[in-house]
C-alpha cells in the first residue's frame, strides 16, 4: 500500500482522519504503529474505543463539517486528510474544506455512492468507493474460478 509507505518515509508527516469507524480506526492504528503523527476526529467520543491500546496519536471530539473544529485539529499543518465517516455528504464537505480552504496536498475520502462523482472530481480529491472495489474484486474472483474450471 503506497499510502503507508509515504507515511513512513516522511517523518514529519501529519495525518488527520475524520470518522473513527472500522476503516478510520484501523488506518489510525496502522499510522500510529509506523510512529507517524496522526489526529483522529469524531463527533462521538465513544467511537475512540475502537482505537487500539497502543494508539499513540491524538483524538478530538467534534463535528468535522465545522471549520473551527478542523482548525483546532490543526488541519492546516496536515499533509494528508482522510475523511471516512459513514455519511457521504459529510465526507465530501470535509474533503472540499481540506482541499479548497486549507489547501491540503493529499485529500482522500470514502464514498459509498459513486454517483456523486461530479461534485468532487474537479477538485482533485482522491476517492475510494467500497462498492466499486468489491465489484472489481468479486469479478476477479469469479474470473479466477471460471479459469480453474476450464483448465
Amino acid at each position: 500500500m503506497d499510502f503507508f509507505k509515504t507515511a513512513r518515509r516522511k517523518d514529519s508527516g501529519y495525518t488527520v482522519i475524520i470518522g473513527c469507524g472500522r476503516l478510520g480506526a484501523s488506518l489510525a492504528n496502522a499510522i500510529s504503529d509506523k510512529e507517524a503523527s496522526v489526529m483522529m476526529v469524531d463527533r462521538d467520543e465513544r467511537a475512540f474505543r475502537k482505537l487500539g491500546a497502543a494508539y499513540g496519536g491524538l483524538t478530538l471530539t467534534g463535528d468535522a463539517t465545522d471549520i473551527a473544529v478542523l482548525r483546532s485539529a490543526e488541519i492546516e499543518r496536515a499533509d494528508t486528510v482522510v475523511s471516512v465517516t459513514n455519511d457521504d455528504n459529510t465526507n465530501i464537505m470535509v474533503a472540499q474544506i481540506a482541499r479548497n480552504v486549507c489547501h491540503i496536498p493529499n485529500v482522500i475520502c470514502r464514498l459509498y455512492d459513486p454517483e456523486r462523482e461530479i461534485v468532487y472530481k474537479e477538485f482533485g480529491i482522491d476517492t475510494i468507493c467500497p462498492t466499486v472495489l468489491s465489484t472489481r474484486e468479486i469479478d476477479r474472483l469469479l474470473g479466477k474460478s471460471k479459469e480453474a474450471k476450464e483448465a
Binding site: N89, M93, I97
Partner: protein, 221 residues
Amino acid sequence: MNMQVLLIGGFDIARTLAASLLKRKYQVTAVHPDYDCCKLLADIKGLQVIHGDGSKPYILEEAGARRTDIAIALTDSDADNLVICELCKKRFGVTKTVSVIKNAENTAFFRQMGVDAVVCATNTITGIIEQLAFVHDMTALVPVGDGRVSIAEVAIPEGAPAANRKLWEISLPREVIVGCILRKDQTLIPRGDTRILAGDSLVLLSSAHQETDAIRELTGR
C-alpha cells in the same frame, strides 16, 4: 413558461415557501426523505412532491432538476445542503442555488463552492429576536446585503425628541438616512427642512448597526 423552483428537505420552511411560491405562479416541486412529511406536503394544492433523499442524483433527476431555475436546499445538515447545491449546479445546470446553513462560519466556504445564496437561519433568527426583544418601537427591521445594511420602520410617539423638529435639526449618526416618512396615508420623501410630526413613521436606511443610536436620537429610547 413559469419559473421552476425545487425545494429540498426542511418540512416547515418548505411548506410555507411552497404555498407562497405557488400563489405567485411558480412551478414548485418539493423533495423530502420522510414519507409522512411527503404526504402532508402533498396536501398543498399544485405542489409536486417527490419522496427520497435529495442529495442523490437520481432523486434530483426525478424531481426535474434539469428543468429547474432555482434550487433551495433546506435540510438540517450543512453537508447535505452543500452536496445538493453542487449537484444541482454542476450536474443539472440549475441557474441559481440557495442554501440554508446552520453554522454561520461556513457561509464563505459555501459561496466559494459556487452556492449562489447562503442563508444562516440561526443568525437571522437570533438577530430578529434581539431586535424585537431589546429595541422598542420598531415595527420592522429588514437586513440587506448580508446584514451590513438594514431598513427599519420607526414610529415617532407624542413627546419624542424628533417630534415637531426639522430633519436637519436632528443629529442622526452619519451612517443613517431617513428615506421616507409615512404620515397617515401619505408617503413623503423628506428633505432637510421637512418637519417630523408625532404619529409619523420613519423608514430608516442604516449601515453597520447604527440603527439603535438613530432610534434613540429620534424617539428618546
